[in-house]
């Protein structure tokens, strides 16, 4: 059940209890089957938990879509130093608002996922790194963590198993780049939130220099369900390569924006026109950003056959990312939208790598000038060239993310740019 809207096509697995304040309490969560997954995981043992997650085909919901079970198996087996699990709740991608809702409504689901994950990778400590602006979610989660410690679910003897499973809430200070896994680790350690050079990878040298796995909130929330019901059960939804359900954050020009939990592989067309109630009357679809602001735009023609699974969106010419679907109708000015996105990246660039630090800000200034009707056609070549210089040349992919919408919008919506350049007029108002 989505929130605030719901639809019959939904498969409410993670979002089943959205909108129910009682589900936030330990008592209410237990009444809904809570912590059975953790109990079962502690009985099964580490290997079996990892095997179940591997069998489920669960893929990372933070954007990259890397198989979670495989990621867990990268952790060193012979444990001669502490391991850490980090839960990435620094949800900051423009257009994304699923983790916030998961924490707000089902804090115990998040904690249970964290404890199972920590147990599976042999970590005695899990840090939940929550975005600084999530005030309500932070309070809800802090309360829930107090509850699990009081109930003995977390702590030195988690659920009487003899295992030490600690969970700590860490509130960020509000930087997009701290959602990048190594940037998050630096921030957690009290350093500047700047991504680290890889290798070494987190499974070898992560938080505090120790083996670390980092997972998205939604990924970890799916884990208790998989442990309780088995890996095969999870595969009844979704496609062969992208199994399971996914929360889609729909925003923009649709009648009913919001979170919708749908099986992967759901048609994008149906999401917009059926689940979300379509566009405003008399409007036509112009573009869709299917995976948050850092993926290429899709045109209307590309949207219609597109299915929402990791492979389907790539086939359509973009990426599923964290499934944040931003819908633009024909009143939208693509140049303005892209300028706003690039401006966001310029603001959030950590400033380490030159191409990102200078490139994002330079592109913002060019796009602002074009938007103001003072652009030149040559600016488009410059933008494409800068995008090329900013792709694959930096420590993390923030600069690639800033370049992607620029390249795709110039490729697919060049007319919007040219109209502004030639006539000095704005196309559309929004």
């Amino acid at each position: 059940m989505g929130y605030p809207y719901s639809h019959s096509s939904e498969v409410p697995l993670l979002s089943k209890h959205f909108g129910q304040p009682e589900a936030r309490t330990l008592e209410g969560w237990k009444a809904r089957g809570g912590y059975e997954g953790l109990r079962k995981a502690l009985e099964l043992g580490r290997e079996q938990v990892i095997d179940a997650v591997k069998a489920s085909g669960l893929r990372g919901r933070g954007g990259a879509g890397f198989p979670t079970g495989v990621k867990w198996s990268f952790m060193p087996k012979d444990k001669n130093k502490p391991h850490f699990l980090l839960c990435n709740a620094d949800e900051s991608e423009p257009g994304t608002f699923k983790d916030r809702e998961l924490i707000r409504w089902t804090p115990h689901q998040v904690i249970e996922g964290c404890l199972i994950g920590a147990y599976a990778i042999g970590a005695e400590h899990c840090y939940i790194y929550v975005r600084g602006e999530f005030f309500e979610a932070t309070q809800v989660l802090a309360k829930a963590i107090e509850e699990v410690y009081e109930a003995g679910i977390a702590g030195d003897d988690a659920m009487g198993s003899g295992e030490r499973l600690d969970v700590t809430l860490h509130v960020g200070a509000g930087a997009y780049i701290c959602g990048e896994e190594t940037g998050l680790m630096n921030s957690l350690e009290g350093r500047r939130g700047q991504p680290r050079i890889k290798p070494p990878f987190p499974a070898a040298v992560g938080a505090f220099g120790l083996p670390t796995t980092i997972n998205n909130v939604e990924t970890l929330c799916a884990v208790p369900h998989i442990v309780v019901n088995g890996g095969e059960w999870y595969r009844q939804w979704g496609t062969e390569k992208s199994p399971g359900t996914k929360l889609f954050c729909v925003s923009g020009h649709v009648q009913k924006p919001g979170n919708y939990e749908l099986p992967l592989g759901f048609p994008l067309k149906d999401l917009i026109y059926d689940v979300c109630g379509g566009l405003a009357p008399g409007r036509d679809l112009k573009a869709v950003i299917p995976g948050g602001s850092s993926v290429p735009l899709l045109t209307k023609d590309e949207c219609l056959p597109c299915t929402l699974d990791y492979e389907g969106v790539v086939e359509a010419g973009s990426m599923l990312g964290c499934a944040s679907v931003i819908v633009l109708d024909d009143t939208a000015n693509v140049v303005k939208q892209v300028r706003r996105m690039v401006q966001f990246y310029a603001h959030e660039s950590c400033g380490q790598c030159t191409p990102c630090r200078e490139g994002t800000s330079w592109m913002t200034r060019i796009l602002t000038r074009i938007e103001a009707g003072k652009g030149l056609e040559a600016d488009l070549d410059t933008l494409l060239d800068l995008s090329d210089q900013m792709t694959g040349t930096t420590i993390c992919v923030l600069s690639d993310s800033a370049a992607a919408p620029v390249v795709s919008s110039i490729g697919k919506f060049k007319e919007d740019y040219l109209a502004l350049i030639r006539r000095g007029e704005r196309v559309g108002a929004a």
């Binding site: 310029a346 380490q352 030159t354 630090r357 210089q389 040349t393």
Partner: protein, 539 residues
């Protein structure tokens, strides 16, 4: 471990078409350096950690999906690396253009101009015309305290300064604040870098004109400066330095790399102690008293030496007071002359600091307690230290000496005005006037900045310096004067004094065991430990 094949200590790779072998564990940028290929870079510095953030040193490694930062990528067997492929060049050109987006291009008024890596790289590989038409971001100037000024707009954000203060100086007073293109280097507190004893090094390692020295501000253009390798004289550490001169005047001192002594660094105390080399108050002409009881008069060297020799040939008890700021060659020539006169007491005085200052990230580098550059050399050559920690007193015997008294360098400022009046014959060699006027001869000598020579540092490392300035008037190196006097003592012998500092050095090598077998040329620019270190005190 035992079943693993033995790894060789080198790896062999192909770099720009040439097969090279480098030590295992070298990064690609180090490997390239060893092969004579300099990969452009900003954030990498051999004395600091590598954050791989300037993205200028990216090179093509065959088989890798994208360009690799050569400062953190390890050289591996069988690798094929292209530092100058089209891809790598395109990347560098792109990054350089990014650097200029907000750069003020104020080269005409920038102190770094002429030795600026941004200038060099852009001239070498940048685009002919920048494409940015947008207004630039402006930061302005900030006083970082101490000797350091910060021009934020020129900064390339390599963070070498931040890492130096943290990793090497152990005094993390700088940081990056803000992010994106608003990121800027800043100090934490009002005092900034003030009082941090090694902070001046950040001006040297700043690849552009963002960090400049207040002392050097707008003083000279980099291309007008002559660079002369030398050794710092502010303590017995013997930091390798370069003396930068223009129009026969020292403009500044810079550290010179020597991993055995000072790494890439020097202390601010030493860096700023050069005004004395430019002093106009110098002895320029020999002044000798030819008739007993009359004041010395100015004359040329030929006449001066002729006037000195008869008094020296008369002989008698000899005593010499030298300075530990004199070179080995000067001290060796003095010891030789005293020996030729029949031998006598050789003493020197040297000042000491109350404390030592260690550079935490390179602990071999210490601002030593011993504040003279060649105390070790003096001791190895048979001189005995007298006086107190201020380098004063201890000359009661010299004051009472009634034979030949030779003074080299020491200004004797602490002595009574009648010092030396008891001596039958008093000769003083100095670059500046002394506090004592009783001498029968005042002979002008050059400073270490004006002559060839060597010092032995605190651990007995013998290091050369070269003449950076032309000495004033008729001033000559002390070894030349003393060596000539010694050679002419016996008018029948037809001996010659040493013709060069090298010859003066070889003469002392022959006479003094601790230096046995050493060669002046072999000292090179990095120095060589004395051949008999056991002779060192406390060794």
């Amino acid at each position: 471990m035992s079943d693993k094949p033995q790894q060789s200590s080198t790896v062999t790779l192909t770099l720009d078409g040439n097969e090279i072998s480098v030590p295992r564990g070298s990064t690609l940028i180090e490997a390239a350096e060893q092969a004579g290929v300099r990969v452009p870079h900003y954030c990498y510095h051999p004395g600091l950690s590598s954050p791989a953030m300037c993205r200028l040193c990216l090179v093509e490694v065959e088989g890798a999906p994208k360009l690799q930062p050569s400062c953190v990528t390890m050289a591996q067997d069988g690798q094929t690396v292209h530092t100058n492929s089209q891809e790598a060049r395109k990347q560098r050109q792109g990054v350089l253009e990014f650097y200029l987006v907000n750069h003020p291009l104020d080269c005409p008024i920038c102190d770094q101009s002429g030795e600026c890596k941004l200038q060099d790289y852009v001239f070498a590989e940048g685009r002919k015309h920048g494409r940015s038409q947008e207004p630039k971001r402006v930061f302005g100037r900030d006083d970082f305290g101490g000797d350091v000024l910060f021009y934020g707009d020129r900064c390339v954000m390599c963070t070498r300064c931040v890492r130096f203060m943290d990793e090497v100086a152990g005094d993390p007073r700088l940081t990056v604040v803000e992010r994106g293109d608003r990121a800027i280097i800043d100090t934490f507190f009002e005092e900034g870098l003030s009082g941090s004893p090694f902070a001046g090094n950040i001006v040297d390692i700043c690849p552009v004109g963002a960090l400049v020295s207040k002392d050097f501000l707008h003083k000279a253009r980099a291309w007008d400066l002559d660079h002369t390798p030398s050794v710092c004289t502010s303590c017995s550490q013997g930091c390798n330095i370069q003396i930068h001169t223009r129009d026969n005047e020292v403009q500044r001192l810079k550290p010179r790399e020597n991993l055995e002594v000072n790494g890439f660094w020097m202390c601010d105390e030493g860096r700023h102690n050069y005004e004395w080399m430019n002093s106009p108050h110098r002895l320029e002409v020999p002044r000798v008293s030819e008739v007993a009881g009359e004041s010395p008069v100015a004359m040329g060297w030929g006449r001066a030496l002729d006037a000195l020799l008869p008094a020296l040939r008369e002989g008698g008890p000899v005593m010499a007071v030298a300075s530990p700021f004199a070179s080995n060659e000067d001290l060796g020539a003095l010891a030789h002359l005293v020996e030729r006169l029949g031998g006598g007491d050789l003493v020197f005085r040297s000042p000491e600091a109350e404390t030592e200052v260690v550079l935490p990230g390179f602990p071999q580098l210490v601002r030593r307690r011993d504040l003279s550059p060649n105390r070790t050399g003096a001791e190895l050559l048979g001189f005995r230290r007298v006086g107190d920690a201020q380098g004063q007193g201890g000359l009661e015997a010299a004051a009472a000496h009634d034979g030949i008294l030779l003074i080299l360098g020491d200004e004797l400022r602490d002595q009574e005005a009648d010092f030396g009046t008891k001596a039958r014959f008093l000769v003083r060699l100095g670059s500046t006037a002394s506090g004592v006027e009783a001498a029968h001869a005042h002979l002008p000598i050059t400073t270490h900045a004006e002559q060839d020579g060597s010092f032995a540092n605190h651990e007995g490392r013998v290091q050369r310096f070269w003449p950076a300035l032309k000495g004033p008037g008729a001033a000559r190196p002390a070894w030349m004067i003393l060596g000539t006097l010694a050679a002419r003592l016996d008018p029948e012998a037809m001996e010659e004094g040493p013709g060069s500092a090298a010859e003066a050095f070889h003469r002392l090598v022959a006479a003094h065991g601790p230096f046995a077998g050493m060669s002046f040329d072999a000292l090179g620019t990095r120095g060589v430990p004395v051949s008999q270190p056991a002779a060192l005190q406390g060794a």
